[in-house]
Amino acid sequence: MSVLEMTGRQLDYWATVYRRTWKGSAVLSFVQPWLYIGAMGVLLGGYVDDSGFELRGASSYLEFIAPGLLVATAMQVGVGEVMWPVMGAIKWDKTYYAMIASPLRVVDIVAGHLAYATFRVVLTSAVFAAVLAAVGIFTSVAGALGAFGAAVLVGVALAAPVYAFSAGAQTEQGFSLIYRLGMIPMFLFSGAFFPISHFAAPLEWLARLTPLWHGVELARMSALGLWNAMAIVHVVYLGLLLGVGAWWAVRRLERRLVV
């Protein structure tokens, strides 16, 4: 049985899960971009634009941070979908145990859940990108699609290793660490809000190693139409993270469920 077919068999389950929860997430994914644009792009941006800082080709602060906001939102949604929900499926509702008693294998379960996380990332990123397009951020349709693609890639690439973490986690304490020591610092310091060249060299290199920086760079070069060969590095980095993360997730969940 192919993983694809087995993932398809879970479609009705995930569709039911989505039908049950879509209202809240839909409203949020529409409201959130406007909050960011208002507070950081327009209000904070007003000060920054007056200061005359060089913003790496962006014509306004809003234009500079918009790709970063898009990518960071994709990260939040992707990662959020594989923390508590994964732990719940193992510990609280035991839905994974029901699944594993059927013909589904661990690899199918991981594929199904990551596919659902991808779906959520795609929807949220699409709404966010549409709002940015309405505000006139993108220079071309291709640029908009590229930034959207970068956001989806980041959301899924980060979801994979976090899934692996959740699959083996005994308590939920680790999740708040991921938020506080992983996602929030990345959100603040990975070049979404200011060029990382403002850092001292070691910190700049640290920022360059974070997945979010690669995603922000990729989305920004696409949004502004300033492509260069680094794009390949970004895509390969995020692709590897996704591949290794997914492999690790299957391995960890296998150890957890198959005892």
Binding site: E5, Q10, D12, Y13, D93, K94, Y97, A101, S102
Partner: protein
Amino acid sequence: MVTARGLRKSFGGFEAVKGIDVQVRRGESFGFLGPNGAGKSSTMRMISAVSPPSGGQLRVLGLDPSEHGSRIRARLGVCPQEDTLDTELTVRENLLIYGRYFGIGRREVAGRADELLGFFQLGEKRNEKVDNLSGGMKRRLTIARSLINDPDLLLLDEPTTGLDPQARHTLWDKLFRLKQQGVTLVLTTHYMDEAEQLCDRLVVMDGGLIVAEGSPLELIQRHSTREVAELRFGVGEHAELAASVEDLADRVEVLPDRLLLYTHDGEEALARVNERGLSPVAVLVRRATLEDVFLRLTGRTLVD
């Protein structure tokens, strides 16, 4: 349907199953009887093809679970010890979604779901959330769900543990009907009445090993007398008094709260006890059960 030879399972340094031989034939109802911790559930999980054996040989439906787990599970129905229903979904959705995991088409799974809801008397609850069901109903739904793929082999791990007597009897009735329809059942239990009601053949497990095997009747005949006279005396008197009635029965068991006299004629034994001037606080003559078999084989009672 199931063949195990020298089957073992260890978790770290702890050996839960220490080498058992089991054979389950098509159409029969087979039981694992034993106290908590006897290795029943570990054995069931290995047969369910979700837990790899640590040693020995295992074939389920003629296949090796470590190689063909998914193919085996496609033909099994599994009712785990702990309910794994999706409490956020409705009763009917639980069946529909589970059926889809087996690759059954939507239309067909809907038909089967309605049929099963009828059979398990859950039709009125079809659109209720699982959260709102009673324990007995959840259990029936779990078993209904395990039948959604029309399995060749139904595995039930402690199907009625934690249910009230009425819910247990309802469930037994359903399982008995399934058995009559020719479904092969394998179940674990620590209730002897359940084993007597449902099992054609069973093994008694203790400490990871099989200590006896046969039909409930055979086991009782082989390891116990036909009748048992229970004598209850004052607290702490039982061990002392055992000696004075020893010759009245084939065997006397001393429990903390009563004496068990194993004999072919319980009334006769009681009369003799009274002749000796002993006056128990309470007496009971009953037929021997698997509980007596278990006591005989292990020196302990089943449910502590």
